[in-house]
């Protein structure tokens, strides 16, 4: 099972679209691609767009938390949008939704960041 990571830079914001299944096997790809894009593109904030993420387990929570820490240590914000109900449940169970703000669409996620940047 594969995972596609689509990256798009919008000013100082990195938009990361995850499509497919995020588990222990696919977590490394997300880690490397996001790390590289954040550091090379000098992105301040990250929007994690999860409309087409069909599956995620606790390995996904780990990799998201790790990138959140990186973005935060550089003074940026990370927000999540369009998550499926099963993914939302894991954010709620783990308490991650308390530190990542959740939005309904990429547009509203970007708008929330433009206010802080």
């Amino acid at each position: 099972m594969s995972l596609q990571v689509e990256l798009e830079q919008h000013r100082n914001v990195l938009i990361v679209r995850l499509k497919g299944e995020l588990d222990h096997h696919t977590a490394d790809v997300v880690r490397f691609k996001m790390e590289d894009a954040i550091l090379r593109g000098r992105c301040e904030h990250v929007v994690l767009s999860l409309k087409e993420l069909q599956f995620m387990d606790s390995s996904g929570l780990g990799v998201i938390l790790g990138r959140y820490k990186l973005v935060k240590s550089r003074g940026g914000k990370m927000v999540v949008c369009d998550a499926q109900p099963s993914v939302m449940r894991l954010f709620e169970l783990s308490g991650l939704f308390k530190i990542l703000s959740l939005h309904e669409s990429e547009r509203s996620a970007l708008a929330s960041l433009e206010v802080v940047s």
Binding site: M1, D57, S59, G62, L65
Partner: protein, 148 residues
Amino acid sequence: MSGNNFMKLSFAARSENEAFARVAVAAFVSQLDPTLEQIDEIKTVVSEAVTNAIIHGYDGRPDGVVTLEAAIEGDTFSLSVSDEGSGIEDLELARQPLFTSRPELERSGMGFTIMENFMDAFEAESVPGGGTRLKMKKRIESKKALFN
């Protein structure tokens, strides 16, 4: 459902088998006509248990073997995930939310919490140096289970 149904599956402790394991179990349990939410819960639980066996039981050694056993009895689905890996020293500690023995691997420490939350019954047996077996049950109150 008349009589009991079961399946047993052993596979190499390789991360690419995590997706295979959860799809296989989801296909088996689909005969109880579960809801999409129940299928998602079971797939997540299988993923957590198999990932634990691969990362913690065998420490990434691909020669390890993970065994899944699933059974259906009436409207109850049971699942056992076992390995013959290094075992868990302190099961109580391992079950604490956010605890991880491998923080350097960016583990969230939520695996046990997720399994306990998504299933109706959860038991763990482990022998340090001898392996781990997780046993879980979930009732699937589907239309099919009610009519049979």
